[in-house]
Symmetry: C2
Subunit: 346 residues, 2 copies
């Protein structure tokens, strides 16, 4: 592969200095029209493309968002990452930024830290997604002065912001919805303890149940680990033991799907005998039978808003470091009312 032409080559051909070429190409006004035209023509002719790497080296300015994320794994059944990435790119394009992804998994975290990545690539700031609160490297980022926005993890420091839906409110809304349908004995299938969203959703469930004086029992809270299989197995164990439970509210759609499968196997009709609800509104949720009543999040918007906030922080603008994106309760067919009829499986 022959070496791409550089600015010197253009200068040589145009019979001017490289400075003049640089000025012409960057649209400076102090360049003779004639000269500029000649330079442009030559640029075109030899297919010259400025080397962005060299440019950023000298200007010391970076126009690149880092996107550090965990959970980019083979066989994922949702499009959360994709949506988020898409949102980040959407904003990045608006402001002429690039996006540099850095997928991490437990295995590789030892090899390279986030900071190392950020500095190596001269990033203007980073967006973190799916990184655990107790992650060793998270701290490193927070404590550095690198602008940083977290998705789904609360934070509000000097140069650190965060964006997510109001998980607690959304969770309370879902619980209230189930309550309003006449359910009292509502089980809650929780996600991972280490995830901030899990505790928030749990809080929402608890406060809504408490507000309605509904039974708040420890054994009604299952641990689904955000995993379809685990939720399935937990439900398989739990449901026969608790025929008085008429609704299972799950902290993710995938877990809800696992619970529905367990119900089907146990001969429990959803939603007639058991209401099941999810969280996230992943694409599958609309296609299950029955289709899933769930909380819709806009993951694209999360990414978009995270990028926007990061940009503002980078620019030194004084903006709120906490952004709540909207959520919506999507009433589909996996949850029903028990008014007037007894759905009890006893």
């Amino acid at each position: 592969m022959n070496k791409p032409a550089n600015i010197r080559e253009v200068a040589r051909r145009a019979g001017v200095s490289i400075t003049t070429v640089s000025r012409a190409l960057n649209g400076y006004p102090d360049v003779n029209e004639e000269t500029r035209k000649r330079i442009m023509a030559i640029t075109e002719e030899i297919g010259y493309i400025p080397n962005a790497v060299a440019k950023s080296l000298v200007t010391q300015e970076s126009r690149s968002f880092g996107f550090i994320l965990s959970g980019l794994i083979r066989g994922s059944k949702h499009t959360i990452i994709q949506e988020c990435l898409c949102g980040i790119y959407a904003f990045a394009r608006e402001v002429g930024y690039e996006v540099t992804m850095f997928p991490v998994d437990s295995a590789m975290q030892l090899k390279k830290s986030y900071m190392q990545f950020s500095r190596e690539h001269n990033l203007a700031g980073v967006i973190l997604q799916g990184i655990r609160t107790d992650d060793e490297y998270s701290r490193e980022v927070f404590s550095s002065d690198l602008p940083c926005v977290l998705i789904d993890i609360p934070a509000d420091r000097n140069r650190v912001g965060s964006v997510s839906i109001d998980n607690e409110a959304a969770s309370a809304a879902m619980t209230d919805y189930l309550l309003s349908q006449g359910h009292r004995n509502i089980a809650f299938v929780n996600g991972k303890e280490a995830a901030a969203v899990s505790t928030q959703r749990y809080e929402g469930y608890v406060s809504a149940m408490r507000g309605a004086s509904a039974p708040l029992r420890w054994d009604y809270v299952l641990n689904g680990e955000f995993d379809e299989e685990i939720a399935y197995r937990e439900a398989l164990r739990f449901l026969p033991e608790h025929p008085e439970v008429t609704a299972a509210y799950c902290a993710s759609d995938l877990m809800a799907i696992g619970v529905m499968r367990a119900a089907a196997e146990l001969g429990i009709a959803v939603p007639e005998q058991l209401s099941v609800t999810g969280f996230d509104d992943i694409p599958i949720a609309a296609y299950t039978t029955p289709s899933l009543t769930t909380i819709q999040q806009d993951f694209f918007l999360n990414g978009y808003e995270a990028a926007r906030m990061l940009y503002d922080i980078i620019q030194g603008k004084d903006v709120p470091h906490r952004k709540k994106t909207p959520h919506r309760l999507l009433e589909r067919n996996s949850a029903g009312s028990i008014q007037g009829g007894s759905p009890l499986r006893t």
Copy 2:
């Protein structure tokens, strides 16, 4: 944000030249152990991180795959891109490469060409996905000497390779399967004409039908544009007109889902009265009712193999420039046999 330490700072503190620091950090043997230890200690202490940008500028070597893709859109219902990206990263990590994504859409294509992107970022080579054959910029890449691997588009030139499943064989296999189930009047719902995979799948359908002397009728070929809605509408029109058709083979799962919805609305039972099959095995396919019989592709592997081939081409290895990844017919519940019973809707 205070400027990160550079190599000069390390040299100053260690009381050596930057040359020595560079050598120590890059593991050259001709450095005194004492000196090396001191340098390492200081590096650690002040948190020095080498600037990869500057390094690649001087070494003129790039360890970065470009991933140019279209179709990273909001609200996508499949995880194809995600899987592919994941596969590319998996290989990239094995060989210590980075990945630089460049999502394109029709709107922005005018602004920056692929070549421009590749050169600006000093990419070692690029992987193209979802780029149309007739794309103006594709040609630019093919005709350049930049190493390049296309996913789902046949190509085999000097520095250009391609990877995909054997679409024609897979399509023929699906058609044969339907034939083996006793179907004769099989409709084919095609994707986009501009996509190479569409024509290949069409060819597979045609050759299998021909091989079985089954009726090959122009009006049995619908245009679904790889779109659920369009396929739905086409099926809504087509099915009542053709009660003799007992199977609809769709070139994508999403289109199959659209067709199933149309069938449901028309009161046609799937698979009893109409067999419907898809292509791709997206996550949703396993959760529809009935679950979708389809051709499973491994999109992760496509990405992984594309990266591997690109790497080999970059290294100048003499490898085949055409890689077929495996596919598999997944027999689920949307297609059935008509042996012995008449499923006709007449």
